[in-house]
Symmetry: C2
Subunit: 360 residues, 2 copies
Amino acid sequence: MIKTDQEYIQRCFELALKAKGEVSPNPLVGSVIVEEGKIISEGYHKKSGTDHAELDAIKNAKASIEGATLYCNLEPCCHTNKKTAPCAQRIIKEKIKKVIISNLDPNPQVAGQGVKLLESAGIEVTHGVLKEEGEKLNEIFFHHILKKTPFIHLKIAQTLDGFTATESGESKWITGSDSRKNVHMQREFYDGILIGANTARLDNPTLTVRIGDDEKPIKRFILSTTGELPDSLNLFNDKFKDYTYLVLPEGTKTNINVNTIYSPATHTGEIDLNILCSTLYKDHQVTSIFIEGGANIHSKFIKEKLYNRVSFYIAPKIFGEGNKSISNIGVSKISEAIELHKTTHKQFGEDSFISGLRQK
Amino acid sequence: MIKTDQEYIQRCFELALKAKGEVSPNPLVGSVIVEEGKIISEGYHKKSGTDHAELDAIKNAKASIEGATLYCNLEPCCHTNKKTAPCAQRIIKEKIKKVIISNLDPNPQVAGQGVKLLESAGIEVTHGVLKEEGEKLNEIFFHHILKKTPFIHLKIAQTLDGFTATESGESKWITGSDSRKNVHMQREFYDGILIGANTARLDNPTLTVRIGDDEKPIKRFILSTTGELPDSLNLFNDKFKDYTYLVLPEGTKTNINVNTIYSPATHTGEIDLNILCSTLYKDHQVTSIFIEGGANIHSKFIKEKLYNRVSFYIAPKIFGEGNKSISNIGVSKISEAIELHKTTHKQFGEDSFISGLRQK
């Protein structure tokens, strides 16, 4: 049965996701080559510095691909200042007849020039197939490549009435196991996780990516104004402690034996988050950050407009009182409220999941 | 195409819902009569004192129903101390061959005796088809007929972080129009709406059922400890003001010219909610109450365990601070939290909807 363009692009997304967590700072890209309604080859980008998806698909082909249609969720590249050969030229050389794309590459070095090059060689090009889904899949890449700052995702797990812990600080567990599994799936998209010192102290988390029996590290950033934290925390002692970074205002001292990032402070003595994010991007190759609380950390990033996506995992529980998920963000009128857009609504067990992007 | 028992029972639910808001204190019941895989007659219960659904379906039949199968979402009645003739006897008389039911009637006057009567006459009876859906449809009836108290539904419209208004009291509108439409659909199931004096004062609501161009009144109860409220409120002046009841502790005075219910107070001077609910049930034929805030009212009903269902309409907005949806309910450990069960998750526009029952 011949599939639609949407279905082939959907297959590209699936292939792309095989390398989830492996491709940063690159995008997630998959490609399929179709001849007479049949997929004759598939490929995807596996890691920065390795073949792009289109090239992988071309190389995987067992027979001639002349005259075939190539699907790819991102525009083929045409720039030569990188480790791999430009894909557009290779597609032309292989005499592909049609190229069907989800998203144009926002990278200023590509930005439609890949399409132009293909078209000038007589190849029929369509783009915009499942455009929104493609943008969501690569929202991290699309943000960082243009803005040169990390894509920031605030994650909150709370009760219906907005509490992340009881007044006594008890937080394990509010949400159910399906929600918590999904958190790990989300973490895998990110270069780093960031939390505040209070959350580190109260929850003593490990902040790794645990999927099935597999445990993978990602960079773990702890923001502290004082540098005073118990040196017994998991983050300072587990087998992934090289992935832990204590972020302190310049001039602060700490006795903890862990990677330290000294970052300029604002006039109130707190870490300047704009500068920090730039530093993490430039000096630590962090194109994306998953922020897991607590309330003050979330509020500070919101106030500085340093967030791109916010996700709430909401358990069907009510506390009435406790530790709030978000503290003051300077909203006094409804018109000033943070309003998420392009929201996604899911259900994990008995929990609700709501995620949305910052209004531009 | 011959339908399944589930599909015929689903049709009974649809028919039953035609009388939504009209049947209290009775249940919502629909019935279809099927012969050779075809529905040959349909009926539903329209109002207390009128024909039951089965009888309505029997009367609507244009041809003989001898040997047919009758579907009904509630067990046919067999008691004679009411205005209408018992349905079980009539079904036997009509020589129906099979009866398929969703729920047994919890009414102690029926409770399986309808089924027994049918079976003793040689009719094949099946019950329990779409049992949970049937129980949900008639959750009000099933509660009140057994407990002799109103079924109580707490409704909250809030931000993601649990606020029903900004700190300045602004609450119009947090949720979107689809959520607000659904609230009116919900209200229609109830005999009465109840709010606190603060909500009456701040929001000046009308609390009617508005669906399309239609506006219908239901009883509106305002709880006040002092009796001091602006007499200009909509509830005291609109065309449905006869449906408004100001509920005051015994001995309190008020100058407002409206129906008043004086109810015994607790030692703290507040209205005793257990007594009030009994009074509303016995003296005011209120089998169900929809409670629309604010936080203190919700918390008081929760603390007294006077609630059966809680529904949250959650807009993808964040305030950081404001008026909370629920105040202290005496929870200090996660194990003490209110936990809803049999949750329903829906999406209304960009809002999430989560509703669940009280844990037994």
